[in-house]
């Protein structure tokens, strides 16, 4: 149940697009972890390309809103992390 919910959240997050590259936050490697409990509480750990990114708050809110719209999700927690720091090599190959 939780593993498939995590997968559904990841698929949903592909709709959150970076406005610079037009790639999703998943393809850019900004989503570090998605963990779901059997009760549907989802915890997402994500990053931004730079710690002071002016979009950080908006990205975090967008990820929370999109994940929260997935069927079966009862609560969402999004945490920003800069350990490890994001690197361009984290971008998924085309």
């Amino acid at each position: 149940m939780s593993a498939s919910l995590e997968r559904l959240v990841e698929i949903a997050l592909r709709d959150v697009l970076d406005p610079e590259m037009g790639k999703s936050v998943v393809d850019l490697g900004l989503i570090y972890a998605i963990a779901a409990t059997p009760h549907g509480a989802v915890a997402i750990t994500m990053t931004t390309t730079t710690p002071g990114c002016p979009m950080a708050g908006f990205l975090k809110a967008a990820v929370a809103a999109v994940a929260g719209s997935v069927n079966g999700v009862t609560a969402v927690t999004v945490t920003l992390s800069y350990e490890p720091a994001w690197q361009p090599t984290m971008i998924a190959a085309e």
């Binding site: 610079e20 002016p54 979009m55 908006f58 967008a62 609560a75 999004v78």
Partner: protein, 465 residues
């Protein structure tokens, strides 16, 4: 962790900067200043200061107010000082030009305008420096990027103070100052610290961070980048020594200027190697207009800075030195600034307008705000004008230089219009534009209204009913 926000007054800084650039180009087109006048005549000094303070310094200041908080991940310290700083700098510049006009005898104005102008500029740049230094030092450890900006600001401080001394001397109000800081020998170091230290070193430091962000390139090793700061900082230290030498009675000789210029040229060689590495290693293969239009600017740096110490070492070839200085001021610094303005304005405009729509349906990309390829053609015109102007200056062709300023002016005006169109969302389909009262204002960012409720927290939480 506090989140960096939009700088409210950056657009106003950019508008004043672009107006100054257009004014400088109009003056040169009209044959005002060098080569029609001598390098140290008031007419030339007006054009030089409108370019250095009005155009380049205000544009760099506006960009720093937005990006220093982003790059050190701390909010801008004392943001309410941004408007007084802008007003003081603009007032100082206007008074300075009026003072030069009085010195030239074009108007019967008192020479006291000069120290008054210096006071305005000193206050304005002091306020700017206070905001930036306080922001930079609020982050620990102090990064290499902060090091570039701090050294640049130190050079700005020496430039402003030496300029104030010169202004006081020129007003005839200080025989003592005139005895310890004889003109015009100090002018070269004053100019070098302004263009090379304040504007140049900061362009080096900021571009390392922005190019990594804009091209998705891997960070370069700090030890590699530090070489640029060490050689650049050493060169500027020599320039300060050259500036202060007359006050200490040390005879340095006319060729001394070659040494700081040489150190800066070595720094630029390391910098050029690094920029090439960033372009080659970028993950974002398609170059946007800001990165494409920066390439001629980097080429201007690669040509101008190695040749300038050679030209000064040879000595006596004033047209060559003037041509290389123009190439660096308008080709490198001016071109790079114009190119990055397009990116900064479009990014800030997108952030104001569409960031809150993220994840809530279709929204334009940042690049969609820029009219392409038209913007590229304006840059082509601008750089063509710079290239012709450099050739005309080197060849001593005053009329050729004036004619070359026409494509420069048209290109700049075109880019300025594109920036206004970006703010008006002119390239965006009507159905994707917000209602009129929610659209970005031309000169003032909606900094507070668009701040996220979760901006100061690391964690966002939602729960479904």
């Amino acid at each position: 962790m506090p989140m960096a926000s939009l700088s409210r007054w950056t657009m106003s800084y950019f508008a004043a900067a672009l107006a100054s650039l257009l004014a400088a180009e109009l003056l040169m087109l009209a044959g005002f200043g060098y080569p029609a006048a001598d390098l140290t005549e008031p007419a030339t000094l007006i054009v030089v200061h409108v370019t250095a303070i009005g155009w380049l310094s205000l544009a760099v200041a506006g960009a720093l107010l937005q990006f220093v908080p982003v790059l050190v991940a701390r909010p801008l310290a004392m943001p309410w000082l941004a408007l007084p700083a802008l007003l003081a700098i603009v007032a100082g510049l206007v008074l300075l030009c009026a003072g030069f006009a009085a010195l030239a005898g074009w108007a019967d104005w008192p020479f006291e305008l000069m120290p008054l102008a210096a006071l305005g500029l000193f206050c304005g740049f002091l306020l700017l420096g206070v905001m930036l230094v306080a922001t930079l030092l609020s982050a620990r450890p102090v990064t290499l990027f902060a090091g570039f900006v701090l050294v640049g600001l130190a050079c700005l401080a020496v430039t402003v103070l030496s300029g104030a001394a010169f202004a006081t001397i020129l007003s005839g109000r200080s025989a003592w100052l005139a005895s310890v800081a004889p003109l015009p020998d100090g002018l070269r170091f004053h100019a070098l610290l302004g263009f090379g230290g304040w504007l140049g070193l900061i362009a080096f430091g900021v571009s390392y961070r922005l190019l990594v962000m804009f091209m998705m390139a891997p960070e370069l090793p700090a030890r590699q980048v530090r070489l640029v700061l060490v050689f650049g900082g050493f060169g500027m230290g020599l320039a300060v020594a050259g500036l202060l030498a007359p006050a200490t009675g040390i005879e340095i000789g006319a060729g001394f200027i070659t040494m700081p210029l040489g150190a800066l040229a070595v720094a630029s060689a390391f910098y050029g190697r690094d920029i090439l590495t960033l372009y080659r290693s970028r993950r974002r293969k398609a170059l946007e207009i800001n990165m494409l239009a920066s390439i001629p600017a980097f080429a201007a740096l690669g040509l101008g800075l190695p040749l300038l110490p050679i030209a000064t070492a040879i000595g006596g070839w004033e047209p060559g030195i003037a041509a290389l200085t123009f190439l660096l001021a308008f080709g490198w610094l001016g071109g790079l600034t114009l190119a990055q303005l397009v990116k900064i304005v479009s990014f800030m405009t997108w952030l104001e307008t569409y960031a809150s729509r993220l994840g809530r349906g279709p929204a334009p990309r940042v690049g969609d705000l820029v009219a392409m390829p038209r913007t590229g053609w304006w840059f082509a015109l601008y750089y063509a004008g710079v290239a012709i102007a450099v050739a005309a200056l080197a060849g001593g062709l005053a009329s050729g230089f004036r004619l070359a300023m026409l494509p420069c002016l048209i290109g700049t005006a075109g880019i300025a219009c594109e920036l206004v169109r970006i703010r008006h969302l002119s390239e965006i389909k009507a159905e994707q534009r917000p209602s009129l009262h929610e659209r970005p204002r031309l000169l003032l960012a909606r900094a507070d209204e668009r701040r996220m409720p979760h901006a100061d927290n690391r964690t966002a939480e939602t729960s479904r009913a």
